[in-house]
Symmetry: C2
Subunit: 480 residues, 2 copies
Amino acid sequence: MRFRRISLTIGITLCALAALMLLPALIDLVDANQDWQVFLVSSMLTFFIGGLFVFSGIDLESSEIELKEGFVLTTLSWLVTAGFSALPFVGLGLGYTDAYFEAMSGLTTTGSTVLSGLDNLPRGILLWRSLLQGLGGIGIVVTAIVMLPFLRVGGMQLFHTESSDRSEKILPRSAQLIVFIVKIYVSLIVLCTLTFGLLGMTAFDAICHALTTVSTGGFSTHDESFGFYKSAPLEWACIAFMVLGALPFVVLIKAVNGRSSEVWRDTQVRGFVGFLAGVSVLLAIWLAETSEIEFWDALLLASFNVVSITTTTGFANIDYMEWGPFAIGLIFLLTFVGGCAGSTSGGIKTYRFQVAGLLIKGHFLSLMSPHRISPLRYNRRRLPEDVPFSVIAFLAVYMATVAFFTLLLAGLGIDLITCLSAAATAVGNVGPGLGDTIGPAGNFASLPLAAKWALSAAMLLGRLELFTVLVLMRPEFWRD
Amino acid sequence: MRFRRISLTIGITLCALAALMLLPALIDLVDANQDWQVFLVSSMLTFFIGGLFVFSGIDLESSEIELKEGFVLTTLSWLVTAGFSALPFVGLGLGYTDAYFEAMSGLTTTGSTVLSGLDNLPRGILLWRSLLQGLGGIGIVVTAIVMLPFLRVGGMQLFHTESSDRSEKILPRSAQLIVFIVKIYVSLIVLCTLTFGLLGMTAFDAICHALTTVSTGGFSTHDESFGFYKSAPLEWACIAFMVLGALPFVVLIKAVNGRSSEVWRDTQVRGFVGFLAGVSVLLAIWLAETSEIEFWDALLLASFNVVSITTTTGFANIDYMEWGPFAIGLIFLLTFVGGCAGSTSGGIKTYRFQVAGLLIKGHFLSLMSPHRISPLRYNRRRLPEDVPFSVIAFLAVYMATVAFFTLLLAGLGIDLITCLSAAATAVGNVGPGLGDTIGPAGNFASLPLAAKWALSAAMLLGRLELFTVLVLMRPEFWRD
């Protein structure tokens, strides 16, 4: 384990974070709000520590990352970045637990919050929350496309850009890929900002919400979240950009390069979009049948909330706790689903359900004809042999992790629905839970301190596809 | 598909059921209760229909069962047996929905009930409920040991008595094995009856509870269930027999044949007993720390309820809904666990968790050293290649089934905790759920009719390891 190599990367990340803190400092300075000093001090402190990391990490030897270093680097960089991202929240009066929770929720693009009275907060801190999600969104896409397939976590090797390559070094063409991804990501945010602005948001709201929509994060500048605007066009636009943020970025790159027909040919994209459409229509019919809501209004309400939860964004436009058990149960289940792999969204993700579906179908066929062997094919290619096991190990560990955090929260005396939905929403990086406390109309402020640390850990675990973090806890990892 | 062969077996089962109905008729006659007529009429009707099935099924050709017939026979015989087992309940005034629910809950050894005021019911009907669980218990052990490995459902081929044999005919030595199993089962029930009697139960209560303890069923003759007796020795004895009923019967056969050391060498037995002990002590410590209960009282309370839920028996001795979120959350999770394969218990079952654990461990190792291949070994033998996929397909379909029934019940307007726990307790064949309605102090009577049919279906699905039933719903099954 070459800690210098890890130290260097973390140091560079911290310096970038310090630079990012100057943006909210600037806007508070423009607004003549004294908070600009908080951001400036946080920035200087972060830059100083980041610089120390860089200096202690300078290494004239090979700059390639080995497999085990990859796991440590990925986990540590998210932990440390959240630690420093929390500084401005502390400077503005939050305790460090609340500040860390808010920062981790931002960076992991979860969107659970301990803050209320958002409408009256200075613009600097609102921008900071949105920037954290914007940064976390691009961070996870880069991690998911460049790092996780290399680490072969939870079946992500399926998306190895050169699937024939089995080298234990990161591919040199990563740099080029990262540039493409950043371009796409920034373009989406710009496009989203313009759309939101044209449809009636202020410039500031448009920027903040574009950052948290494309990153499927879900922080808002209003306590009412998207419900503040009461605008159907805005909500439909938001639906479109949440879906775009939850599509695989590699597929988006193909689309931009003129191969847009490949987007719809992608098995994961078809499954994901088809699922969203089906569930939205189902819920809309249910709402129209069981309440006073007209079908077309119900379709918008249903689509917005189904897309918001499934893409793991977590914007709200209504308190769906009032929709009755069927809708609540459905939304609880959607908390587990997630978007596509290689996107900004969390959760179990479409391709894992599809691979599990292939296995189940195969099992049915083998029950009927025990001697038939049918190879598993996914997305018009043969499924690599180790993918089914990776996917399955992921599913089992995912459920075990949610169960573990549910019990941990229950041990703190929190009611079962809050525990279950808090664990599921944190591990899935969704945002809101169920119940009066952490439901779409509530927030996480009143939870005990221990619960906030537990949920911060759950968010990180979920964000890094569980195994990236869990593998560090196995004694074998540290041997030899 | 030779329906004559299926018809013959179902006919024989119905005739046996008709004979069994004479027992409660006899006891009501002794008690001078008019209900004996209900049982006699039910018995005659069942015998008549059963006879018709036998006559229409007589077949002078091969008596061996083909693979596809195995699936149809297994599912159909449980459905039809439940249908006729419900007759006495109808005769005593229940609607057919309630009667079918109670009969299915009995035969699947679930133990959920729609009846209350048990203490004042005639002895005939109480005996009938216990007999149904006794019959269901031996029925599932025979199905699980003889039929399911042959059908290769959900990884049960791991317990194929001749693992090298891949023939598609049931082994001829099945008959001998069935005799062994029945001997063990009856001996356990007799032993349990004597123990309960010696420890203070009336002869009638001892017989009834022995039938529902060894079968891990959980029907009682008292509304308070085991809490009625307020006797620590009785509860410890019950714990012991619930555990015995949840052990693999093939291992018990070895023990009786003088190879008792093999019991403790069995990986599944070790894992199961170790799990029960660990969780019981954990819950006992929690109860002793957070309430006024002394540790040794807490240990009994915790052990009884942990063993009762995990073995999928479902006896209660207290309303654990008052133990707070941690205990409730733990008990909810235990609803999924189940006992050992090849026993009377339901749920996911120990060996599936162990196989999943092996897969997860293998995934961790392969993450750290991508080029190492480590073959999976279970119970000192190499795991057959198709077992991991079968187990995994089972786990995924199990969770999907619970989710499906949760949503279905929620659609009927039932609150989410009741829906979730009702679905989990039915699919796991456990018995009680959570909440005021279906918790340990409540019953299922007040649920809507549709919910009772849905839960009856869920109980059957869970009892027959899901795939035995689900495979019938695939169009490919009926082709050719």
